[in-house]
Amino acid sequence: MLTIALAKGRTADDVVPRWRRAGLPVPVDLDDSRALVFEVDAPAHGPLRFLLAKPADVPTYVSFGVADIGVVGKDVLLESGREVYELLDLRAARCRLCVAGRPEERDRRPRRVATKYPRLADQYFRSLGVAVETIPLSGSIELAAVIGLADRIFDLVQTGATLAANGLVVFDEVLDVSARLIANRSSYRTKRQGIQWIADRLAETLAEEAVES
């Protein structure tokens, strides 16, 4: 049996249709159930077990081997610092990691940065040779810049609509982010066939889509 950890929310929403298009089995009630574990049978490859997990937990599940493979955003993967194999860029759930703030802060030295990604933010500002304080928050990061808790935010930007609605602008684009197929190091060796089957089917679908567009 292969266990697959899917990052709940936008990543799963974007990836599951592609998974279907690739001819890979998906539990029928995945979209509208409150359950967190689903099983579905894959002809010739045995049962697949899907776990719906909080994105930040997917690298943890996979690195500890309780899930063999996982689907999660590159941002979360980098922030986790976990040792997993990164097999495929699924080119889904795309967005950008950006530095943003109120327009009047643009030319001032960064001092305090609010973020869901303390490790990455620290790494980024260090690479610029700037010493900043990072303020770890868990959501609605924009708020910190609006009310002046921080003069910068380091966060994911998809359309920029939330930033605009709060009077914030992007100062710098740090990284393009998309969903990745990851695998546990041991599973990749001991369950290679099943994992390769899924990776190959997805890669073929991605190649077809690239040709179509």
């Binding site: 500890f64 081997g65 040792e83 194999y85 190091r185 041991s186 599973s187 060796r189 001991t190």
Partner: protein, 376 residues
């Protein structure tokens, strides 16, 4: 702020894990078992102190490897490290003996090793980077060549058989081949370095991105990763066109030399009936820089990280004062136990034998790792 509970017990430091009677016995039995197998093949047990000077450990390797070492300063002001592995200590001990005329050294060990990590102890024993773990291994100094490599692979397989472990998978590669193969395709040294780092991390997406970016300028094929992973020295030789091309450049000849060693090893493994349990994957790169030849990892269902790791390090001993070829491997004892017992060895006796004064437990209530004292 904290919840208002009186702290009565002494804390266990972060990452440390207590091991109770049945569990400790099991671990000691496993260590003894492996050491007996090693002794049977002529490897004698040695031991040394837990601390090494940081400059000892850094001989022959990149300083980036030191990131997760536990360092402190000793009474004379020199930086010491809680050893993260045994190989440098063995090299330090062996070098003077070799210089004095000893031709060959076969040593085994069973020792605790240490790393800096935030992972919970019981989980990291199974799959992650453990703050403290037990390595049981061998180092064989003074022999080189395919027969010695095969002997060591045979020893590892014999030990696995003696433990009765099933479903394990040994993956082998060559430390020099992938970097030389990439350089021989016309890539710059620094590009090769970042690609090798991608392979060591298992970042195949990053690898393809780097190749994609330089492909047009250098002519390196987009699918070079697939080409590399399709190579199998057990099955077939390198394509002739590639051999001719590689023969014309220095990195190419380096790749051909490494490939020749792999082919020779594959032939010996086949002849000795050891090939069935070994698969070659030349994209496998170990993150230790001192390896010079064969590298291998062993995986088993139930353990999310390798249960054994090893390789050849012919250039390390010279860093300790005497040139000598060497090869070795180590089992991760706690990971092996996890794989052997499906994680059960830590559940078996989590409670101290006399738990009268601890939190009362319902009859039959099971105690899982990490939950001690929080029941009820």
């Amino acid at each position: 702020m904290s919840i208002d509970i009186q702290q009565r017990w002494a804390d266990r430091p972060l990452g440390m894990r207590d091991v109770y009677p049945q569990q400790a016995r099991r671990r000691r039995q496993l260590e003894s078992r492996l050491l007996r197998v090693f002794e049977h093949s002529g490897f004698e047990m040695v031991s040394c102190g837990l601390l090494e000077y940081v400059d000892t450990l850094l001989r022959g390797r990149a300083s980036s490897e030191a990131e997760d070492w536990l360092r402190m300063v000793d009474a004379t002001g020199r930086t010491v490290v809680l050893r993260p592995e045994m190989t440098p200590s063995i090299a330090r001990m062996a070098a003077p003996l070799l210089a004095a005329g000893t031709r060959e050294i076969r040593w085994s060990y069973a020792e605790r090793v240490y790393r800096r990590t935030n992972d919970p102890a019981s989980l990291s024993w199974a799959s992650g980077k453990a703050a403290e773990s037990t390595q049981v291994g061998v180092e064989w100094i003074g022999q080189s060549g395919a027969d010695a490599d095969a002997d060591l692979i045979a020893l590892c397989q014999t030990a696995l058989a003696a433990l009765g472990l099933e479903g394990w998978q040994m993956v082998a590669s060559h430390a020099v081949f992938a970097p030389a193969f990439l350089e021989a395709h016309g890539l710059q040294a620094e590009t090769v370095e970042s690609l090798t780092l991608c392979l060591a991390r298992g970042d195949y997406v990053g690898f393809r991105a780097v190749v994609g970016a330089v492909s047009a300028a250098t002519g390196v094929p987009q699918d070079v990763l697939d080409q590399l992973s399709a190579l199998n020295p057990l099955d077939a030789d390198l394509p002739e066109a590639l051999q001719r091309r590689f023969g014309a450049s220095e990195p190419g000849r380096r790749a051909l030399r490494a490939w020749g060693e792999l082919r020779e090893l594959a032939a010996v493994l086949r002849r000795r009936g050891l090939a069935d349990r070994v698969s070659f994957d030349l994209t496998l790169v170990r993150d230790l820089t001192y390896y010079t030849g064969l590298v291998f990892e062993v995986f088993a269902p139930g353990a999310g990280a390798p249960i054994a790791l090893g390789g050849r390090y012919d250039d390390l001993l010279v860093q300790f004062g005497t040139p000598a070829p060497a090869i070795g491997f180590a089992f991760e004892a706690e990971r092996l136990l996890t794989a052997l017992t499906e994680g059960d060895w830590l559940h078996a006796a989590d409670e101290p034998a006399d738990s009268g004064d601890l939190v009362a437990r319902r009859p039959g209530a099971t105690n899982r790792p990490g939950e001690e004292g929080s029941a009820c």
